[in-house]
């Protein structure tokens, strides 16, 4: 990666013209629009004045050192962060124009259209089939034929159908780590979300499985908007269209991935991607 960067220092606060790329990207629809988001765990200020727009059918990567708030931000987008009892937030996140942090927005509805893939593969201790059918079932789809179709379609979508089609009734724990993670992606696809959040989905996997997941992400982005948190900068560079760099709960820089990796405007971004800390 060439890092000859214009050493023009930006202000500590990031230039908002960079975060509001409507001008530079008018043909893409905004899926998630975050305005002045603050989040506290008890008295710990974990996210500070986040402003960020995520675009439809792109891969948006969030990078940053551990503890920078990148996972917290991701989990705010489907309000999974609320599982921590002492959390409170301020600011606005709109999803397709609707304000999701308001109490009126049902989390179940949000999470139905914003799927999530976790750091560690977490299939349920059930059969492969039941893992995929779980989502449709809780949403009231009981018809066996339709479920069969959904299961096949989702497994195909996650490129794992050929590996598991003969053992759909077997426990998902018999799969390898990489297969389990693709199963979890398939499980998310089963309810046809618009957005898929991925929280370091390859950090527990070997390089070969990682490669497969990355290929899969490239495929999925044709139909889904994907936001991926990763500690692996090469991964962000390889698969994402845009990259946000988080540090100490703030967005230091958010831009097209090419720009971030070749011509970052903030010194701290440059330090981070060149491996000087983190």
């Amino acid at each position: 990666m060439s890092l000859s960067v214009a050493k023009e220092k930006t202000n500590f606060k990031m230039d908002t013209s960079v975060v509001r790329p409507t001008a530079m990207h008018e043909n893409r629809k905004i899926v998630f629009d975050t305005k002045d988001l603050n989040l506290w765990y008890g008295s710990t200020h974990a996210l500070k004045d986040i402003n960020l727009s995520v675009y439809e059918k792109e891969v948006t990567a969030i990078i940053g050192p551990s503890g920078c708030g990148k996972s917290t931000y991701l989990k705010t987008l489907n309000r999974m962060v609320e599982l921590v009892p002492s959390v409170h937030t301020s600011g606005i996140i709109t999803y397709n124009g609707r304000e999701i942090l308001s109490k009126n927005f049902k989390v179940e509805e949000l999470r139905t259209s914003v799927g999530m893939v976790f750091q560690k593969p977490n299939p349920f201790p059930k059969s492969i089939y039941d893992n995929i059918a779980y989502g449709p079932r809780i949403h009231g789809i009981r018809n066996k034929k339709i479920l069969d179709e959904i299961v096949e379609k989702s497994l195909r979508g996650a490129f794992i159908w050929d590996e598991v089609k003969d053992r759909l009734k077997e426990n998902a724990y018999g799969l390898s780590g990489g297969q389990q993670q693709r199963l979890c992606i398939a499980r998310t696809l089963a309810i046809e979300p618009d957005v898929i959040l991925m929280d370091e989905p390859t950090s527990a996997l070997d390089p070969k499985s990682t490669h497969k997941i990355e290929d899969l992400i490239q495929e999925l982005k044709q139909d889904y908007s994907i936001i991926i948190v990763t500690h692996n900068m090469q991964q962000a560079a390889r698969i994402s269209d845009r990259t946000a760099f988080f540090l100490n709960g703030e967005v230091v820089e958010y831009d097209k991935t090419d720009t971030i990796f070749t011509n970052p405007s903030d010194r701290r971004t440059e330090d981070y991607i060149s491996g000087r800390f983190g």
């Binding site: 509805e109 139905t112 949403h139 789809i141 195909r156 490129f159 046809e192 044709q222």
Partner: protein
């Protein structure tokens, strides 16, 4: 591959639409979600209701009792003659029986339980411990009525063949058997306390050439003392509340005596005797049941709270 994925989304099944339709018709789900925690909370309150129920029933009838028998006579009286023409209701014979039987039990269970705990925690290999511990737990799983049978039909005759002065019903035999019953409890709780002492402390002593015995008595036991004492207190509480062994093997003599070869009655055995005797509701003897039960309840409650207090308050910070 691209085709594959396209196929995935554009299949004929329109999952999203189905889900959205279902969601509209499932508003009852939201109500259900709100009712569930209320229902579960009601279940959880049952434990509080039970406590209130116990205290309330005991208290009400005990107050009735004390309106007939002065409270001082009850707690200082050495005569318990509920069925005589001029009934007397001194609780001291029962307290005496309870304390003596518990003392005998603890003399058995305390040292043996602690020694077993030392062996299991400090000396036994993993393999031996894995065999011995569950076997010891079996002792705790035997119903007390079986111990009662054992005390009455086996231990008492054995004691009498050695020591002929011992009566057919006596406090010694059930006391010993109660002790055996409590051994696993003390052994297991004390062992937990000793296991909680970090190995680094132990190794510090052993590395200086201390024997296991020395490291145990000078390092491990002092460090685990609060847990050990609390296990003893729980053992006493268990002995005080134990019913069937003493009821069967110690008889129902209400004499105020310290002679362990003789029959004595404990508070628990008195309750069994009076309740089983179909005492008419409303009679003083019926109310005495509650006064004795209240005393028993307060005693065990204090012991249990004390045990918890000791193990919390004096817990060593490692």
């Amino acid at each position: 591959m691209a085709l594959n994925s396209k196929l995935a989304k554009e299949n004929n099944v329109q999952v999203r639409e189905m889900i959205e339709q279902k969601q509209k018709s499932r508003s009852f789900l939201t109500i259900f979600e709100k009712i569930i925690p209320i229902l579960l909370f009601l279940f959880a309150t049952l434990s509080i209701i039970t406590t209130i129920g116990i205290i309330y029933t005991l208290l009400i009838e005990t107050i009735h009792f004390f309106s007939a028998v002065p409270i001082w006579d009850f707690f200082s009286g050495t005569n318990l003659k509920p069925l005589s023409q001029n009934p007397e209701f001194g609780v001291l014979p029962l307290l005496n029986g309870t304390i003596i039987s518990s003392l005998i039990a603890m003399l058995v269970a305390g040292p043996i339980g602690l020694m077993a705990a030392i062996y299991l925690s400090e000396y036994a290999s993993d393999k031996v411990r894995r065999i011995l511990k569950p076997l010891l737990e079996v002792l705790a799983g035997i119903p007390t009525i079986v111990y009662g049978f054992f005390a009455f039909t086996f231990v008492t005759p054995v004691i009498r063949s050695i020591w002929p002065d011992v009566a057919a019903t006596n406090i010694l035999s059930p006391g010993i058997v109660m002790g055996v019953m409590i051994i696993p409890m003390i052994a297991s709780l004390s062992e937990d306390a000793m296991n909680a002492v970090p190995n680094s402390i132990r190794e510090g002593a052993l590395a200086m050439g201390a024997t296991k015995l020395e490291s145990t008595f000078k390092i491990v036991i002092p460090a685990a003392l609060s847990g050990i004492i609390s296990s003893f207190v729980l053992g006493i509480s268990r002995a005080i509340g134990e019913t069937m062994i003493v009821t069967i093997a110690s008889g129902s003599s209400k004499n105020f005596t310290f002679d362990i070869t003789q029959s004595m009655q404990t508070m628990t055995a008195y309750i069994v005797e009076v309740a089983g005797g179909e005492a008419p509701a409303g009679s003083t003897i019926y109310y005495s049941l509650y006064a004795v039960a209240m005393t028993l309840f307060v005693f065990t409650l204090i012991m249990n709270l004390l045990a918890r207090y000791i193990s919390r308050k004096f817990r060593e910070e490692y």
